[in-house]
């Protein structure tokens, strides 16, 4: 088990470093940070001076190592655009994204799990058909458009919830619904097929032959197996949501990390972008790592394998 944890942890770290170096290199080669800092119309000498002063003329690996060294000490660098420490920027924006991601995940779970489970328990019934058509439609609705429709509907017709900003809990209701809906198809389908798989397995037939039925059969025999893929998919979905809900935050004008990332890209604010990507990737790999560990706890084959 310890071996397993160490191995997965090492892999997670390796992935995070590779990805963050990849983006670092991408920006290094594709943009000219010195020009960005100096401004569009700055004379060449000034750009060169800045390049030397900031060390942009050094090899990319050295610069990355330098930056990473800073990160390890809590120094993510200074934003070119906002002229502010990146750490502060992230601290300011993180709360909105975390709140939004968690509430959206709750929406997803509240819709997808019951729907997927009841669909699997009664395949080809009306519930199953409802679940599948929900999935197919939800998959086809552009997320940003759904947000706009909500805004039109709630701002004009039923002004119950605010449609812009992030000041109160009420501001989170509509964005959570929109963001949560986007994960419903994937989670629902996986819950359904996963549970169907388990229910048609030989060991469930064995359990029935032993006298299990009804809720005991589901809870005491099938659930643990069916949970394995669900845990994984929820981790992935939460990871994506924490990785900057770019669209939702933009549509509802919320000051989260996603919007910060978009604006940094538009302004070639490399330190901010690469810090954000590192944080997003780290969050993602840690979440999937957590999911794998939960699954190892649930399933002795993973734990001992």
């Amino acid at each position: 088990m310890l071996n397993y944890v160490l191995r997965r942890g090492f892999m997670a770290l390796l992935v995070a470093l590779t990805v963050s170096f990849g983006t670092f290199a991408l920006f290094h080669f594709a943009t000219d940070p010195a020009q960005t800092i100096a401004g569009e119309d700055a004379p060449q000498e000034m750009v060169d001076e800045i390049r030397e002063q900031y060390g942009f003329d050094r090899p990319v690996l050295v610069q990355y190592g330098d930056w990473l060294g800073g990160v390890l000490q809590g120094d993510f660098g200074k934003s070119y655009f906002w002229k502010q420490q990146v750490v502060e920027l992230i601290q300011e924006h993180a709360k909105v994204t975390i709140l939004l991601a968690l509430s959206a995940l709750m929406v997803t779970v509240a819709i997808a799990l019951p729907l997927g489970i009841s669909a699997a328990l009664k395949p080809n019934s009306w519930v199953d058909r409802l679940a599948l058509s929900t999935a197919v439609s939800a998959q086809a609705i552009p997320n940003f458009w759904l947000g706009l429709m909500f805004i039109i509907l709630f701002a004009v017709t039923f002004p119950i919830f605010p449609v812009s900003g992030d000041a109160t809990w009420k501001h989170y209701v509509l964005p959570s619904l929109v963001l949560g809906a986007s994960s419903v198809p994937a989670v629902m389908r996986l819950t359904r097929t996963g549970l169907l798989d388990v229910l048609s397995s030989d060991y469930i037939r064995t359990a029935r032959a032993k006298g299990f039925m009804g809720y005991r059969l589901i809870l005491q025999q099938a659930m643990r197996n069916a949970l394995l893929p669900i845990v994984s998919v929820l981790a992935v979905q939460l990871g994506h949501k924490l990785g900057g809900s770019v669209v939702t935050e933009s549509v509802f004008s919320m000051n989260g990390l996603g919007r910060l990332a978009v604006e940094s890209i538009f302004n070639s604010d490399i330190p901010t972008v690469q810090s954000l990507i590192l944080i997003f990737v780290l969050t993602f790999v840690l979440l999937t790592l957590a999911a794998d560990l939960i699954n190892a706890w649930l399933d002795p084959r993973i734990r001992m394998g």
């Binding site: 071996n3 060991y203 032959a209 032993k210 006298g211 009804g214 025999q221 197996n225 399933d299 002795p300």
Partner: protein, 674 residues
């Protein structure tokens, strides 16, 4: 017969609706089982035997529909019991069930202990400790060593045989009156099969249970069952005691089935019988007798009128028109050796065409990214000659290295040391194309050996195309000729494998192997995935082709009755070593190695008057990663001594037989069942 019935089934049907039609899996069968008796239900795949088993406690898949006049279990009619009543009063309590696949039938995420005890705590008001006590007792009874510590283990830590023992213990937790075993040993090796069957037989006697044993294996059923019901196309066509049905079969299907079994007509039958044609579609109603289209005795009435059920005595019935006109035509083409003595003259040994010279193969297995590397010795200094025109059988249980050896012989696997030479050439130095022209394989599973995306014509002709042999038209002509050779109708040329029956697929696979006129054909369990009637066809075909095309076979198998029927010489493998090798008659009638002897004991021939012999082998096939010291067989060997535990036995030749055993000179085989 004064004992009361424990189970009485009247007019049971099972239907499974599919996309296109309704599959009638079981068609109005009736069964009767007395207390303490064992009923064997025999049938080939698709005969409806498993559906019958599942229907008793209504464990059928959700889409299936069950109908029955009555399923009377000990005085109460189960057709009237709802799901709740079945679950709380019958399943797992009064009727226990064992399934075919031990690998998937236990819940992988719960411990053995939990799965055993919950069976008891679910139904009875007992404490966890009491249930645990009972579980330990039962595990001991089913022969699992160190039962108390097993409770904490998970299914994936056990071998197939061990899991099946756990399944049996689980079914017995509440002392059921009836045990239904659905192909309980089909997925297991022969020596383990014998152990499990012996265990079931033993437990049944001890606990006074009734048992329904569902199997396709006539040998198994002949040893274990008191009464037999033969199923064909969803119907029971013949019933009676094991003795009556197997010694004096009345229904042509039963007769045909028995003719197909190698060894049924004595060991030297030259040709097996075979049942022509295929099982009729199970959808829709069958007019007349379901077997009519394949029956050599069929007359017009058989095709139009439902056959009557004839009663010969209590419990002895068969369903057949039994036309007098064709009474003596019941022939399925089996020929006895006596008529063919001239042909069966012992062949003079041909020249050696292939030599395996001290081949060893070690795989290195690493568990996980940072796990330790462990070595697995798949082959250990294997020496083997294959002679022109002979059938050399390679026998052993799963994991013994048979497959690695055949891959090495085909040049698909490089040996670590030693060499394989084909005539003058070492096989690893031959170009792939040339090697392919000399040696070709036939595989076990015709469902996986043919590419589902290619037509039969393409598949058979592919070796010619790959190796650029002949022009397009020559290739085409060759394919057509080969299809004729292997008995495939011309019309399947453009068909896909999915459209063919298992037997036809295997014929296509044989055609592909033979199209380049190879010298040696490696047959890797070519019939073990097929029903017995199809197996007979394929074995006959292989023997015919050998004579016609002058072929040499290396026949890899676990089935000694097939070896008996096919082979000229036999090599027995255990843990990557050849432990005995010699002429078939020598090895099978007078084995010098205790392992060969144990294999022979485990092979269950059709003998209704005998029971399952007490297993001569203790324990299970060891994990090849932890090879025992000395003679690798010593932990399971009944005659092992100190020397066997310490020193690796030296190979020696005794009476022309190669053997690797310290006790070979003193060991004598005592047949347990003759």
């Amino acid at each position: 017969m004064t004992t009361a019935s424990i189970l009485d089934i009247q007019d049971l049907s099972v239907e499974i609706p599919t996309d296109s039609a309704t599959l009638k899996a079981v068609r109005g069968i009736s069964l009767d089982l007395k207390r303490g008796e064992t009923l064997g239900i025999v049938g080939e795949s698709g005969s409806g035997k498993s559906m019958t088993a599942l229907a008793i406690m209504n464990l059928l898949p959700p889409s299936a529909r069950r109908a029955a006049a009555c399923i009377n279990f000990d005085g109460s009619d189960l057709t009237h019991s709802g799901e709740r009543e079945l679950a709380t009063k019958v399943r797992g309590q009064r009727i226990g069930m064992i399934f075919q696949e031990p690998m998937t039938s236990l819940n992988p995420v719960y411990s053995i202990g939990r799965q055993l005890t919950e069976t008891m705590t679910l139904h009875r008001n007992v404490s966890g400790a009491e249930a645990e006590q009972r579980a330990i007792q039962l595990l001991e009874k089913v022969g699992l060593p160190d039962p108390a510590s097993r409770l904490k283990q998970y299914p994936h830590e056990l071998s197939g045989g061990q899991r099946q023992r756990v399944m049996i213990a689980m079914a017995l937790m509440n002392e059921p009156e009836l045990l239904i075993a659905d192909e309980p040993t089909t997925a297991l090796d022969v020596t383990i099969q014998a152990q499990i069957l012996y265990l079931l037989q033993d437990l049944q006697k001890e606990l006074g249970m009734s048992m329904i044993l569902i199997t396709h294996d006539l040998g198994v059923v002949s040893r274990s069952a008191d009464k037999i019901a033969v199923m064909y196309a969803g119907d029971i066509v013949e019933t009676g005691t094991a003795e009556e049905v197997l010694r004096n079969p009345q229904h042509p299907y039963t007769q045909g089935l028995l003719e197909c079994v190698p060894g049924y007509r004595g060991n030297d039958a030259h040709r097996l019988g075979s049942i022509p044609g295929i099982v009729p579609s199970m959808t829709g109603t069958i007019r007349g007798c379901a077997f009519a289209s394949r029956c050599p005795r069929a007359v017009d009435a058989c095709k139009t009128d439902l056959p009557p059920r004839k009663q010969l005595g209590p419990g002895r019935t068969y369903v057949c028109h039994d036309p007098d006109a064709t009474r003596n035509q019941a022939t399925f083409g089996a020929e006895e050796a006596a008529n063919e003595v001239a042909v069966e003259l012992p062949k003079t040994p041909g020249d050696t065409v292939l030599t395996v010279d001290s081949v060893s193969c070690t795989f290195s297995v690493r568990r996980g990214l940072f796990g330790k590397r462990k070595s697995l010795k798949a082959l250990d200094t294997v020496n083997l000659d294959i002679r022109k025109g002979e059938v050399l059988a390679l026998v052993g249980e799963s994991g013994c290295g048979k497959t690695t050896l055949s891959r090495t012989i085909m040049g698909l696997q490089q040996p670590d040391t030693g060499s394989v030479s084909l005539g003058q050439h070492e096989i690893s130095t031959l170009p792939a194309g040339q090697r392919a022209r000399m040696i070709q394989p036939i595989f076990q599973d015709p469902y996986s050996s043919l590419n589902p995306r290619k037509t039969i014509g393409d598949i058979i002709g592919r070796p010619l195309v790959v190796n650029r042999i002949g022009s397009k038209s020559e290739q085409l002509a060759k394919v057509h000729k080969m299809m004729e050779h292997v008995g495939l109708p011309r019309r399947v040329f453009n068909s896909y494998p999915d459209q063919l029956s298992g037997g036809q697929r295997q014929r296509a696979a044989i055609g592909r192997a033979l199209i380049m006129d190879p010298e040696i054909v490696i047959c890797d369990e070519p019939t073990s995935a097929l029903d017995v009637s199809v197996q007979a066809q394929i074995l006959n075909l292989l023997l015919d082709l050998r004579d016609e095309l002058d072929l040499t076979y290396l026949f890899v198998t676990h089935d000694l009755s097939v070896v008996q029927h096919m082979a000229d010489r036999v090599a027995v493998m255990y843990l990557g070593e050849i432990v005995e090798c010699g002429d078939r008659s020598q090895v099978l009638s007078n084995p010098k190695h205790p392992y060969t002897s144990a294999l022979l004991d485990s092979a269950l021939s059709i003998s209704p008057d005998l029971s399952v012999p007490a297993p001569g082998l203790s324990g299970e096939f060891p994990n090849p990663m932890n090879r025992p010291s000395g003679c690798p067989f010593h932990p399971r060997c009944p005659v092992a001594e100190q020397q066997c535990r310490e020193e690796v036995p030296k190979p020696e030749i005794i009476d022309t037989t190669f053997v690797k055993c310290w006790k070979a000179r003193t060991f004598s085989h005592q047949a347990k069942h003759q």
